[in-house]
């Protein structure tokens, strides 16, 4: 009783990928286990926690609530696609680091993709707007205080532009 397999082509972080999956393969599992992009995490598999949030055509979506076969023809962005592997962090990543917006880091990729997309449309949020913007994702470690701060800091970094030198969160160590 073999299950029918589907050959699909997905565009993830601008890179074309091919995979052969059953129709029921969740996009989250396909990204993680078929394409090896394990940065996207799975926390509840019923769409509440948001750890699996990726961007579908630039818009945040729960990858655990999508079938991989349904993602063909769309441009997907995962946490791995926010910054070039060897390059500087994306402003949202940089802000999370500066503001201690992550602890265990498991929910973090979902927040990063969510906020990256949010700031594209809302480049200058207030604190209340920042708090509401992240209100659909669960974090069990941070109590959200520093995540909200990171949204605001990321907005600041974006406005300053890529050339701006990020403010160090700590006094730089002296080097010999």
């Amino acid at each position: 009783m073999g299950e029918r397999m589907h050959d699909i082509r997905l565009s993830v972080n601008g890179v074309p990928h091919a995979a052969t999956v059953p129709a029921r393969r969740l996009l989250s599992d396909c990204l993680r286990h078929d394409l090896g992009l394990t940065g996207t995490h799975v926390g509840c598999e019923h769409g509440v926690c948001g750890a699996c949030t990726v961007l579908v055509d630039g818009r945040p979506a729960r990858s655990c609530l999508m079938l991989a076969v349904g993602a063909e023809g769309h441009e997907l962005t995962t946490v791995e696609g926010l910054a070039d592997p060897g390059g500087p962090l994306h402003p949202v990543q940089q802000a999370f680091r500066e503001c201690h917006g992550l602890q265990c880091g498991f929910c973090t990729p979902g927040f990063l993709t969510l906020i990256a997309a949010y700031l594209e449309e809302h480049p200058d949020p207030t604190e209340a707007e920042a708090r509401e913007a992240v209100a659909g994702n669960l974090c069990r470690c941070t109590g959200y205080t520093n995540i909200v701060a990171a949204v605001l800091r990321a907005a600041e970094l974006r406005r300053a532009g890529p050339a701006a030198v990020p403010e160090p969160a700590v006094p730089a160590e002296e080097r010999p």
Binding site: R4, R24, L26, R62, L67
Partner: protein, 311 residues
């Protein structure tokens, strides 16, 4: 929590979609935004043998706004409907309700029609359709038909849709210039299904007196109940800010009426007792009516001002 196996169909025309649904009935489930179906699959609470993904069917992703109202295609996502200015102008209740539908990320994928088809009595868009007396357009193997909202919701997660039928669009009648609307909800967490919710629609005469008042109730029974509350508040002049003492009795009477009518169908669950839900129906009826009244006044006076400006 992985879905059970199913056969996947991705029809590329409406005719093909309807044909596949007919062929696979009653073992086919329609997949559009997936925000209701896929959680059920992942928990294996649903195990359809066939999933019919309609997202490749052309023509279902449009919002059409005319003088009569707003037609929302089956593939229109909540986010896109909420962003549509013409729809918001014709039926302000849509945007008022959509901001309460789960969280933005869910609204990015979830479809308005899908939510209606799911027929959850806690869903804002089902309540909006019921309150406005809208209808859904249905395609089937024989052709098309229309089902009025009043006839659509038959029970908890149940509709009068026949096997093999597909809702292609929902139609929300325009609210009219001298009407106002509002949603009032209490939810445990921001974005959760409401413990109790009220959508209210108020109509005014040229003297800004209430001539009609209706409310639809979320989470107060197996289907979205709609009550006519005109009798309780007819003749009142809605206002922003505090209510005159005499008026407050009239609003309270509307709340009492709502509690008396919806209370018997209210159920207890882990989040609320039936008594608390009934109490909320009373309190939120007053809040929603007052807010809808104030909204109606704003709309009527803006319209008048715009008219005067043109004259």
């Amino acid at each position: 929590m992985k879905p059970p196996a199913f056969d996947y169909h991705a029809p590329e025309t409406l005719a093909e979609a309807v044909r596949v649904l007919a062929e696979t009935a009653p073992h086919g489930s329609v997949l559009a935004g997936g925000q209701s179906l896929i959680p059920l699959l992942n928990m294996r609470l649903a195990a359809p043998r066939h999933v019919v993904d309609i997202t490749r069917v052309p023509g279902l992703d449009r919002v059409g706004t005319g003088t009569g109202g707003v037609t929302v295609g089956a593939l229109v996502r909540h986010t896109d409907l909420a962003a549509d200015p013409a729809a918001a102008e014709a039926v302000p209740l849509l945007r008022q309700g959509l901001r309460l539908v789960a969280h933005p990320v869910i609204r990015n994928r979830g479809t308005t029609v899908g939510s209606i088809a799911h027929a959850d009595p806690s869903a804002e868009m089902a309540a909006a359709l019921a309150l406005l007396g809208g209808e859904v357009r249905v395609a089937n193997a024989a052709g098309t038909r229309t089902i009025a909202a009043a006839d659509l919701f038959t029970g908890y997660l149940e509709t009068s849709l026949e096997r093999g039928e597909l809702i292609t669009a929902a139609f929300f009648p325009a609210q009219g210039p001298a009407t106002g609307s509002a949603f009032a909800e209490v939810a445990r967490r921001h974005g959760d299904y409401a413990v109790c919710g009220v959508a209210a629609l108020v109509a005014l005469d040229p003297d800004l007196r209430i001539t009609g008042a209706k409310a639809a109730y979320l989470s107060m029974g197996p289907t979205p109940a709609v009550l006519d509350l005109t009798e309780a508040v007819a003749g009142l002049v809605p206002a922003h800010g505090p209510v005159a003492p005499g008026d407050s009795d009239r609003y309270a009477a509307a709340g009492d009426l709502a509690a008396a009518r919806t209370g018997p169908d209210a159920a207890a669950d882990i989040h609320a007792t039936a008594e608390y839900r009934t109490h909320l129906a009373r309190v939120l009826t007053v809040r929603a009516l007052r807010e809808a009244g104030a909204h109606a006044v704003s709309r009527a006076t803006e319209r008048a001002a715009a008219g005067a400006g043109r004259a």
